[in-house]
């Protein structure tokens, strides 16, 4: 399974939606994921890819990790996974 499909699967599970309902330009807010849901999603992503996501709930916009949309999250995870493999 690709990184993209895995991340979408995690987000869909958190949002209690079908993966097909999670589009690339959706924001977490669109999907009904609140701040607790976000922290849980990030935890699930870290566990799935064995990476550490730099995210502080107090300053989401200042974290090095862009959560503005599903595509931004996927791009961020792809970068972290690549960095880890390197």
């Amino acid at each position: 399974m690709s990184i993209k499909d895995k991340v979408i699967g995690i987000i869909a599970e958190q949002a209690v939606l079908e993966p097909s309902d999670v589009t690339m330009d959706s924001t977490l807010e669109d999907l009904g994921i609140d701040s607790l849901g976000l922290v849980e999603s990030i935890f699930a992503i870290e566990e799935a890819f064995d990476i550490t996501v730099p995210f502080n709930a107090n300053e989401p916009e200042q974290s090095d990790f862009d959560i503005s949309s599903v595509s931004a999250i996927i791009a961020g995870i792809e970068k972290l996974v690549t960095e880890q493999d390197a």
Binding site: L36, N58, E59
Partner: protein, 402 residues
């Protein structure tokens, strides 16, 4: 209803091992937050805290006591010794039969859990010390205080996360005010600064890696602390008759539940607790000169708290002072309201308002007089002490200069 005053105070926390040392540090705007020192700290992302340093339990407590006293109980007993010495009350006869202990703690013996889980899970041991349960239980500290000082009345522990101490002191206040007892010992203790304790908090992603900066636009989270503060609450006439030194009067309290979210704070819940405390004290908003804020340094708490203060106090919100001492001693979780009560006592008794240190950038969502960085002299007649816990449980105390 009886009037209730505080006649003894004691503490140990990252700012000092006594009340005078702590108040001096608050006046100087000293920061007690430093690098954490304990096993496996290198495996944590969060490596700072308001840790009590230079405290050696060995030597203060004998071998038998050490097997029964978790660090949170040790802190309690050390703080109580100072409070009881100051109060100078001897608990005998009827007074002892009615007087009890109400303490707050969120985690109780966290390091005892941590140490023994390590032993059985990590080290694969199949046997733990026989006193693990009496050592870690949340009421252990209250019970040891009761035993040490012959306090035979209502004794229990309240656990409401970050509001534990304020809930506990509210109960002690009620017991004395209603006439159930002439005196009560109260306050709170917390010691979560061990690997498991900090690791659990880390998971929530609300901790700062560098500093606690309440109300500052660039705040990035809370910093944990540890320690205890213990008080003797006494009926006013009883205290006056024996010529006790009265530190301040407790005049009201209120407790509310947000009934909305397990972690996100609510402006309404906080506001109802503050206005309830004013109402219970029979004072109006304009009389309050100082609020010791919950002020955790998280994005959510500080703006919500400021909005709640603005709602309750109206135009007077811009005239009163509100500071968070957590930037100095860290967030002591279940003990935090107790240590912060010391800042209220200092404001009322000495006319010195503790600062919010670490303040760097103005935040329009926290546009109140947060006493940035430097302590200030002011005559304060009434003060509030706020505590707003995870779980949406709020407790606010109202205090008066005597």
């Amino acid at each position: 209803m009886n009037r209730v005053v505080i006649t003894g105070a004691g503490t140990i926390n990252a700012l000092g091992h006594t009340v005078p040392a702590t108040l001096d540090a608050m006046k100087e705007g000293h920061c007690g937050i430093s690098d954490l020192e304990f096993r496996d700290v290198d495996r944590l992302a969060i490596k700072i805290g308001g840790q009590v340093k230079g405290f050696e339990a060995e030597g203060r407590f004998n071998r038998q006591q050490m097997t029964l006293y978790d660090r949170f109980t040790q802190f309690t007993l050390v703080a109580a010794e100072e409070a009881m010495a100051q109060a100078g009350l001897e608990f005998v006869g009827e007074l002892a039969a009615k007087a009890g202990v109400v303490l707050g703690t969120a985690g109780g013996g966290v390091s005892t859990w941590d140490d023994n889980y390590r032993a059985v899970y990590e080290e694969g041991k199949n046997r733990v010390h026989p006193f693990v349960v009496p050592k870690l239980m949340n009421n252990a500290a209250a019970s040891h205080l009761s035993m040490k000082y012959n306090l035979k009345g209502p004794t229990f522990t309240v656990s409401t996360a970050c509001a534990s101490s304020n809930h506990a002191m509210s109960q002690a206040f009620q017991i004395v005010r209603s006439g159930m007892s002439k005196a009560m010992v109260t306050g709170g203790s917390e010691s979560m600064l061990c690997f498991g304790g900090v690791k659990a908090w880390e998971g929530l992603r609300v901790m700062s890696k560098d500093a606690c900066r309440p109300f500052s636009a660039n705040r990035n989270g809370m910093v944990q602390g540890e320690g205890a503060a213990i008080f003797v609450f006494e009926e006013y006439e009883h205290a006056k008759a024996r010529g006790a030194d009265i530190l301040c009067e407790v005049v009201g309290f209120a407790m509310t539940s947000d009934a909305s979210d397990i972690v996100m704070p609510s402006k309404q819940g906080a506001a109802r607790a503050m206005s309830g405390a004013l109402q219970d004290a029979g004072i109006n908003a304009g009389q309050v000169g100082y609020i010791n804020a919950h002020g955790t340094g998280t994005a959510a708490n500080d703006k919500t708290e400021c909005a709640a203060v603005a709602d309750v106090f109206g135009p007077h919100a811009d005239k009163l002072m509100i500071s968070s001492t957590k930037a100095m001693h860290g967030h002591l979780i279940g003990a935090t309201g107790a240590v912060e009560l010391l800042a209220c006592i200092m404001a009322l008794r000495e006319g010195v308002v503790a600062p919010t240190i670490g303040y760097q950038e103005f935040d329009p969502e926290c546009a109140l007089d947060v006493v940035p960085n430097d302590a200030r002299e002011a005559k304060i007649d009434f003060a509030l002490s706020n505590a707003f816990a995870f779980g949406g449980l709020n407790a606010v105390l109202a205090l008066k200069k005597v």
